[in-house]
Symmetry: C2
Subunit: 428 residues, 2 copies
């Protein structure tokens, strides 16, 4: 046993959830679950431990080596703390592909780990709602996924003006790259340049394109100069452009109008094959993306099973809580406990237990003070814990079986028998 | 990108939760939350990542090195995936000791990691309900903790004859060791021998005691021969014995009679200071302990803060689900989705979305089929997913706005307008 004093700090970049923070997490998770279940999604889960090879397949060596928690277990197996849920989801779907019933609507609320510098909105561990459809028709599924994301923000109290949905389609870029005949390496690298376009100056963007595409750079820059030009080149009736405009029309029909096309939205993961989107806070104080997702029709192939059309998104708890805070949408802390019984003397313990037990059986959340402190201190305890009602149990209560229920917020006090307490508290 | 086929198996010793397994986990967690919140407990949480030193302090080098997942992060910090929640709980309470309001009733539902051979009831990752009181009077708090544990099993549908509560008190052993004047090393080692007493033969037990205690062995064996003898030696009115009998009397007063004293129950962790208990399944097929806990009044000291009386327990999901299965108490899978809308033709997509959206706004969980398969196949999908009702939307429905709601279990079909659907489904 160590004699030195241990630190009470959590590990760097992760959070302790005291009841006040847990209350917010529970509020957020409940809204998430309600929203997605109303659309018919079923919850699944998995361990945070995954074989490292699961991420090597689609994320590349550097990401696994430099941005994840990866270690050797005692059996010399390389294990990674999952940095995202999609590979696990694909693994699970691939494993039971023959037994599962499609279309599949699944959601999960995993915690994810990234080894990175901590900053606002970025921690080493965060939770992320994951919502996915496998095996649905593409257009309708993309529309539903975006509608679910939008509905969640509305259910959290957001106004349309608080956030903006940005959509793109990987096929549009793919078709453009084909037109100007880029090779695979150029395609891969130009995607990363496009992804950064909004973060760098026009000059820097042009320089990067010229370095990469040489004699093809001018043609490329001419086309991507505006959305109008891009659509003109690909053709309004081309399947890629129609997929995009069809989606935006569908969103409008669902009453979702805070949506915008951006040819610069690429998303980091390599597995996307069609529609991609992100949702941003319109408040510049909280500029990180709140939701991100897209279509990944080919992912199951890495497990050697036939692929299935798939689309989904992730929404992280850290950025969403920042969003709710920025827009004043966080709920006020409330205790789940409804009544606190103060014990005027230790000798009433058994009678108090009996009363508490009867109330609990009828669904009232009751805490009993377990100390012999002065009554005023016991009441103060209830108040600090934000428990709305107290009952002080002493000689009179033991004798008359009448109890004064005091509402701490106002100080008002009503006397009643045991039977009335349940209705009284449930009405409040 | 790897070309070889990836395995779809999860990492060894951890579980995938498909919706059917997740349903059971959600059922269990909900019962746990309901039960403890009715007693006034508040939920807290923390990361699975903790500095390794947190466990070295009370669990010893070997446990950290051999039974936990411990690794160096890129900053050369030693990190452990938490093997139990109590050290984290103590860390959090110590950190905010001045701001927290006592008595504190906290619970959590953490996942815990142990690097060990997998077997029935023992996996490398499991979830565990943790329920603790800090700062309450000892006798009343011990009684409440045991009452909460008992109530949870009853709320899960167990009968008194399905499980047995075994209690002991570390102080009883401590007093005995004082009587026969054991030194610290002997005390520590004899605890481990007593802990194994029920698993070895009488002869083996006696031999182990003789090896360890030499000339004191006979006196020791004489005293621990029976509970009666032990109580006689310590004295019925000794504080240790009174604490134990007081607890058992309290449990009887609360209607809890499947409880038994065993002087052999020691519990593995070194931090226990008073009452300890475990709850066992009475069915020999599932002999592992379902709940375990006890009093740990000194634990906060390792953080250099003043200690506070504390008692709590843990109850693991793997053993509890085994218990429920053994006693036929697992609920049947039910989908959270109430209605499945089959789409007879793609052209009705917009109208179906409008209908689904209206129903969702009134709280009905509705999934829409997103394929152009035959109606019979779409209905089969709903049935396989255990969604109770289907609605087929085609030409007639689009024209007349009358919908046939079919209950899949019986085949019965009722026609109604949009407004009636909500009430119809909510009544069922």
């Amino acid at each position: 046993m160590a004699d030195k004093k241990l630190s009470t700090e959590p590990y760097k970049g992760v959070r302790d959830f005291y009841p006040e923070q847990m209350f917010l997490q529970k509020y957020l998770f409940e809204k998430m679950r309600q929203t997605v279940e109303v659309f018919g999604y079923e919850e699944y889960g998995a361990s945070i431990l995954e074989p490292a090879e699961l991420y090597r397949a689609k994320s590349g060596e550097e990401i696994v080596n430099e941005q994840t928690y990866t270690f050797l277990d005692r059996g010399e197996r390389e294990v990674t703390l999952r940095p995202e849920m999609t590979p696990t989801l694909a693994r699970m779907v691939a494993q039971k592909k023959r037994d599962l019933t499609f279309p599949l609507r699944w959601y999960s609320l995993p915690n994810l780990f990234r080894y990175e510098r901590t900053q606002r909105g970025r921690l080493r561990e965060h939770f992320q709602l994951n919502v996915d459809i496998f095996g649905g028709e593409a257009g309708e599924s993309d529309l539903e996924i975006l509608t679910v994301a939008y509905t969640l923000l509305k259910n959290l109290g957001a106004k349309d003006s608080d956030f903006r949905i940005i959509v793109n389609n990987r096929k549009i870029a793919d078709r453009l790259f084909e037109r100007i005949e880029l090779n695979d390496e150029q395609k891969y690298k130009i995607c990363k340049v496009i992804d950064k376009r909004n973060k760098i100056s026009d000059g820097e963007f042009k320089d990067a394109v010229k370095t990469l595409l040489a004699e093809k750079a001018d043609r490329f820059l001419e086309i991507v100069d505006s959305n109008k030009k891009l659509v003109e080149v690909l053709g309004e009736q081309s399947p890629e452009v129609k997929e995009l405009t069809g989606l935006i029309d569908g969103l409008y029909a669902n009453g979702i109008k805070n949506v915008k096309f951006s040819q610069n939205l690429m998303r980091g993961f390599d597995y996307y094959t069609g529609m991609v989107f992100e949702i941003f806070d319109t408040d510049p104080k909280n500029s990180r993306s709140l939701f991100g997702g897209g279509r990944f029709d080919e992912l199951l192939k890495i497990f050697g099973v036939e692929s299935a059309p798939a689309v989904g998104f992730g929404a992280g708890d850290v950025t969403l809580l920042d969003f709710l805070e920025t827009h004043n949408l966080l709920p006020e802390y409330q205790s789940a406990t409804e009544l606190y019984i103060c014990r005027l003397e230790a000798k009433f313990a058994k009678e108090i237990n009996r009363l508490a037990s009867n109330l609990r059986e009828r669904g009232v959340n009751v805490a009993v003070d377990l100390t012999d402190r002065k009554t005023a201190e016991q009441i103060k305890t209830a108040d600090k814990k934000r428990i709305p009602f107290v009952l002080c149990f002493g000689e009179d209560e033991a004798k008359n079986k009448k109890y004064k229920i005091k509402r701490l917020a106002t100080g008002e006090e009503v006397e009643m028998g045991e039977k009335e307490i349940v209705n009284f508290l449930k009405r409040k």
